[in-house]
């Protein structure tokens, strides 16, 4: 079982490869690395000596996946690995619980409200209590279920009047 945000690799080589792959940022939320997001699941060296990086999509149709795969490939090659494979895994399914604490802090500093609480039926159908990333007020309301990317919804703070993106609990 992997620990989120730590280095889920065993050998020195794998640790070096993880560090290289973990520098890749999300093309749509450039303050987050794919390690912060929990999109980078693991990096291992297979029997043939190839470096295999496992990535997982946040949403099935996430259009950033191709770009992330290419960026991981480039990052590993730049770190000196020549035999590189980037593998997409679906299971276990990504949820917002995979987002690291550091990732949540970075999101908020960037002006995106991090997902509130744990995933589950209540989070999906219940009313979320979302804190405004600008002024900290909880007097907020949802403007639209879907926002600028698959993973976000559009909210508005009624205290400071600013609209903001909310990283949907998923």
């Amino acid at each position: 079982m992997q620990t989120h945000g730590s280095v889920p690799a065993h050998s020195e080589l794998e640790r070096r490869a993880w560090k290289a792959a973990a520098t890749v940022t999300d093309p749509e939320i450039p303050v987050l690395t794919i390690a912060d997001l929990g999109v980078l699941r693991g990096v291992r060296v297979d029997d043939a000596g190839a470096v295999v990086a496992d990535i997982t999509p946040t949403y099935s149709g996430c259009p950033a996946m191709n770009m992330i795969a290419v960026s991981v490939d480039v990052a590993l090659r730049n770190a000196g690995f020549s035999d590189v494979k980037v593998n997409t895994v679906l299971s276990p399914a990504w949820t917002t619980d995979w987002l690291t604490e550091e990732g949540r802090t970075k999101l908020k500093a960037y002006g995106i409200a991090p997902p509130q609480g744990q995933t589950g039926r209540h989070a999906l159908f219940g009313q979320d209590d979302v804190e405004c990333p600008h002024c900290g007020s909880h007097e907020t309301e949802r403007l639209a279920e879907f926002g600028s990317t698959s993973c976000k919804a559009l909210w508005r703070c009624t205290a400071c009047g600013e609209p903001f993106d909310y990283f949907k609990c998923h």
């Binding site: 949403y59 099935s60 149709g61 259009p63 299971s91 399914a93 999906l124 879907f146």
Partner: protein, 257 residues
Amino acid sequence: MTTLHIDDASPLVLYTLRLADNALVLGHRLSEWTGHAPMLEEDIALANVALDLIGQSRALYTYAGEAEGEGRDEDAFAYLRDAEGFRNVLLVEQPNGDFAVTIMRQFLYSAFMLPFWRKLMGSADERLAAIAAKAEKEAAYHLRHSAEWVIRLGDGTEESHERITDALADLWMFTGELFEMDDADRALVERGIAVDVSALRPEWERTVDEIFAEAGLTRPADVWMQTGGRGGRHSEHLGFLLADLQFLQRAYPGASW
């Protein structure tokens, strides 16, 4: 042009293709709204739902190709089959109509797919279970979004009520096909791979009744249910949809960028 048959496909390939075709065709339909929706938020919402569905179809087509073992990839399934090769239900290929028709189609489908994916998450087939686990969360959003709009339109103005009522009357005849099963499905249900969709009907009806009650709509009385899409017999609309979707690969085979 390569002729691509699926009539002799294994039950697993057929099952996976049917799910993939549903997702692709509905995803394409929704993408037709991009730039045309009644307001910016809905333009973005419909494009996002389309993206989820097309993403689901890609994962399913890829798996169908692997299970088939004849070297077909997602693009071969999406771009190189004619209408009779598609196995989607008739509901998803129906034209967008006005916003009410699009919302009602999405609601009837999502109210079915949410419990469907939840069951498929327990499939004995690990790959289908993994795809279902991702799709289930997406379907929950699609249901919430479309259900809220059904209520808003039904309980809105006289005109919005009339339009959503007409949409329901036009689309209800396509809902029966969602619950159909053939020998291929039953063989997979016995092996714990497929979902017994007949068992989903009570939950689907509960969801529909609950939302319709809030919206001031009445579930239509028993009508003759249209069927055929799962067997490759489609309405004329699918051919036009595919002419758009497949144009580039038909005109410039193998083109990529």
